[in-house]
């Protein structure tokens, strides 16, 4: 093939694979450098806060894992292998899906892909460029979560310096395997399954979910008869050992890390352990490279074909089956409130038609519901049940906070490109913010309070405590919606079209941190009277007098005071961010 014929003569030519890689590497390096430079020059405080928050998060995780490994090391060191295998195999499944979804967006739906596909560059090179992006985005959580865990393990086990040197290569080579599998699945679905890809993906997700449910059932169900006993623990250990399959990359990683850390216990076999660790690393690297090459090869033959098929598909037909609900919602109430209802209907339609939103919502709350539904399998005393009920309240809040951060916080920013429509409508800008708040609150309060009711009824909690939990649930929904919508309106990113990137930015991080602090505050304050009452019962006659301050704090008065503080916390979390957001949004110049 002559690449230099035509009027351009010698001015251009097809470049080699290595040159393509160099050009893309240079592109990524330049973009990273310019992004960093913009952050340092324009948002120094923001950058410092992100670094500080990440460091605090890392430190907290490190402390948690250090305590956990010290405990396990002292009682049953072999369990660590099991924990590693279970953790890394679950992570592997999640990385397959997250990388696959990211690659789908980056390779088939992004404007950059449309630009690159019109340049004389190999499809494989575009895939490689997008693969590195997707792998980084999907693996940063693994690095942030995994590095404190593995460092803590190394310190507890007294690992040599070579262990720390091998950590990053181990993590990266491991992450490459599920990422490449995700890439292969993504390209296969797009190129060959056509319109069936949504069904195929749903089927795959269903199989994985069914596997998780079966495993959960088999682990928890066995405790139904006899409670949490040593036998039950042995059963759990045995069943979890299915994750210890020698053909799984998670086993190679676990074994490699354990070998690399083996130093203190067998000084005479140190070199042999290191050799074993390097061998496992080599297995990971070679398999990662092989799978990556397969994915790259597949990209060469199917990427352009798949892109063409996807671009050429007919837009999905709108489902009109539930349009009556939208119409009923629009028509209900007074004429004065109609603009707000119309905005709500618009957001509801967008939510319904965005598979990533409702599927994650359904998966998170569905799994939580499944867990709550199985609580009856265990036998609890009252104190233990009360403790679990408050933990469940915290879990429901945390899940809701991930949802508000990921989907509600970016809502105002995503209006950026269509702001001119909203700006010209005869509605006050405040109504736009309030409609998002209402959308988030109504969408959150129904599943949250329903699940809390389910949890408490399964645990056999008293009606009074159930009421406390429900009040806390409502306050959590109000506060989390206030934080997400308020911060979203206060610091919108009107230029960024990707909600994931908006949520991953500074504002999203701040939203998640504030939401977590708010949840911890509400649950702690709400739990104090119950725990004082439990402590009083535990101490029995030797405890403080039930008529003293202790008794007052653990009685109805204490509950009333704690609920009052919860309400105040909720009011602050709702009103302060909303006020900031409303004020900023009124003067926003898109």
């Amino acid at each position: 093939m002559n690449g230099t014929d035509g009027r351009h003569g010698e001015s251009c030519r097809l470049i080699a694979v290595e040159a393509e890689s160099r050009v893309f590497s240079r592109l990524r390096a330049t973009i990273a450098w310019q992004t960093l430079r913009s952050m340092v020059s324009g948002a120094r405080l923001r950058l410092a806060l992100v670094v500080l928050l990440s460091a605090v998060f890392w430190g907290l995780l490190y402390g948690l894992f250090f305590e956990g490994f010290s405990f396990l090391d002292s009682i049953h060191a072999e369990v660590i292998s099991l924990v590693f295998n279970a953790f890394f195999s679950s992570l592997m499944v999640m990385l397959v899906f997250s990388t696959g979804i990211l690659l789908y967006g980056n390779m088939y739906c992004s404007p950059e892909a449309r630009l690159l596909l019109t340049l004389p560059v190999r499809a494989e090179a575009i895939f490689a460029h997008k693969f590195i992006d997707a792998m980084w985005f999907s693996s940063w959580g693994f690095i942030l979560l995994g590095s404190p865990m593995l460092v803590a393990y190394g310190i507890v086990r007294g690992a040599p310096w070579t262990y720390y040197l091998l950590l990053l290569p181990f993590m990266l080579s491991f992450a490459m395997i599920p990422a490449a599998v995700g890439g292969v699945l993504c390209m296969t679905f797009v190129a060959w399954l056509g319109q069936l890809r949504v069904h195929a993906l749903a089927l795959l997700l269903g199989v994985v979910a069914a596997g998780a449910v079966w495993l959960g059932w088999s682990l928890l169900g066995s405790a139904a008869a006899g409670g949490v006993t040593a036998e039950w623990f042995d059963t759990v250990i045995t069943r979890l050992s299915i994750a210890e399959q020698k053909f799984l990359p998670s086993w190679w990683l676990s074994s490699g890390l354990i070998e690399a850390a083996r130093w203190r216990e067998q000084p005479e076999a140190r070199f042999a352990s290191l050799s074993e660790a390097v061998k496992f690393l080599a297995v990971l690297v070679s398999n990662g490279m092989l799978l990556y090459l397969l994915a790259r090869r597949l990209a060469g033959s199917t990427y352009r074909l798949g892109f063409s098929q996807l671009v050429g598909e007919m837009p999905a037909r709108r489902q009109r089956r539930i349009a009556w609900f939208d119409e009923a919602l629009s028509a209900a109430g007074t004429a004065r409130g109609r603009p707000m209802r119309l905005l709500l209907v618009k957001d509801l339609r967008l939510f319904r038609r965005d598979i990533s939103q409702w599927s994650q919502f359904a998966i998170f709350f569905g799994l939580l519901g499944f867990y709550f539904f199985n609580l009856r399998s265990f036998h609890y005393n009252l104190a233990y049940a009360s403790m679990i009920s408050f933990l469940n309240l915290a879990v429901a809040g945390l899940i809701l906070s991930t949802f508000t951060t990921r989907f509600v916080y970016p809502m105002i920013s995503l209006e950026g490109r269509r702001f001119w429509i909203l700006g010209l409508l005869p509605v006050h800008r405040d109504q736009i913010v309030w409609s998002k708040f209402l959308f988030s609150f109504i969408g959150g309060v129904l599943p949250c309070c329903g699940l809390l009711c389910l949890s408490d009824s399964m645990l056999g909690i008293s009606f009074a405590l159930l009421c406390v939990h429900e009040i806390c649930g409502v306050v959590l929904c109000l506060g989390l919606s206030g934080i997400a919508v308020g911060l979203g309106a206060w610091m919108p990113d009107l230029r960024e079209p990707s909600p994931a990137k908006i949520a991953a930015g500074f504002g999203g991080t701040l939203c998640l941190v504030l939401s977590s602090l708010f949840i911890v505050g509400v649950v702690t304050v709400a739990a104090i009277p119950t725990y004082l009452a439990m402590a009083g019962e535990a101490f029995g006659g030797a405890g403080p007098s039930p008529t003293g301050l202790f008794g007052l704090a653990s009685g109805p008065l204490g509950t009333a005071i704690s609920l009052l503080i919860v309400a105040i916390l909720g009011a602050i979390a709702t009103c302060v961010p909303l006020q900031l957001g409303l004020r900023a949004f009124r003067w926003l110049e898109p």
Binding site: G3, H8, S11, C12, L119, R122, S308
Partner: protein, 257 residues
């Protein structure tokens, strides 16, 4: 230079382009006109390799867009309707990226980047990040990138959107000069005046079919109407009753071959 050989493309069961045969020789400026949904964008996407034909073949300088995609792209410059840039690259860095992708030698690339920056009057903003560019500046930068490697074929999709009158004049003058030098230009546009002013030939698409192909003078002759404005001729040609009458219209695509 550009050849559509019995090209058809369907979206599901719906035909978007039907049996399009068209040859555009070297040095010609061809304007593709048609109402919304006529199949212009599908035709452009097939010409730049983003879509594959369901039937037939598209060739640029003899290179089949499906079988020899990269070789065909080497001869092509493309200005899309919505300019795509990397927001965190400066204009100059973006041009370097494009030059590297086309394998241009460094010294030649530096010379051509300077030339295009001058052509499109980008000197003041060439070292600013693209995220600060207005729509017109983005469009000018995309033009500069498309012309950087002196392509044989320039594909323009609604090229004047977002450009101010001065930039429009620059682009028009440049297109005239480039076609004189032998570049083939394939342009999709709704701006009839520009097609009338610049195009050597026009094609008018209606519902995926090329209903007319020829010069403006031929269009006037063929329509046998008193009207002199291209707008009236265009509206008359495209204002057809639904479906059935397309095939039986008295207007035959004269240049279809």
């Amino acid at each position: 230079m550009i050849e559509f050989d019995h090209v058809s493309r369907t979206y599901g069961p719906k035909p978007a382009v039907t049996d399009l045969s068209l040859r555009i020789p070297r040095g010609e400026l061809f304007a593709l006109l048609g109402p919304n949904g006529a199949g212009k964008t599908t035709t452009i996407k097939m010409l730049v390799g983003l879509l594959r034909p369901s039937r037939g073949a598209v060739r640029i300088c003899g290179h089949d867009l499906v079988k020899e995609t990269r070789a065909a792209h080497l001869h092509t410059g493309y200005v899309p309707d919505e300019p795509t840039l990397y927001d965190k690259l400066t204009g100059r860095e973006f041009l370097w990226f494009i030059a590297d992708m086309f394998g241009m030698p460094r010294s030649l690339a530096a010379e051509k980047i300077g030339r295009e920056i001058d052509h499109f009057e980008l000197a003041d903003c060439a070292d600013d990040l693209a995220e600060s560019y207005s729509l017109g500046m983005r469009q000018r930068l995309v033009f500069a990138a498309a012309l950087l490697h002196d392509p044989d074929v320039l594909v323009l999709d609604e090229p004047m959107v977002g450009l101010d009158p001065r930039s429009v004049r620059i682009v028009k003058d440049l297109l005239r000069s480039l076609t004189r030098d032998g570049m083939t230009v394939f342009m999709s546009t709704h701006t009839l005046a520009m097609a009338e002013e610049l195009a050597d030939r026009v094609g008018i698409m209606v519902r995926g079919t090329l209903r007319f192909l020829g010069t403006i003078a031929e269009l006037r002759d063929q329509m046998a109407t008193d009207s002199t404005s291209l707008e009236n001729l265009y509206l008359e040609l495209t204002n057809v009753p639904p479906a059935a009458s397309i095939g039986s219209s008295s207007v035959e695509p004269t240049g279809t071959r």
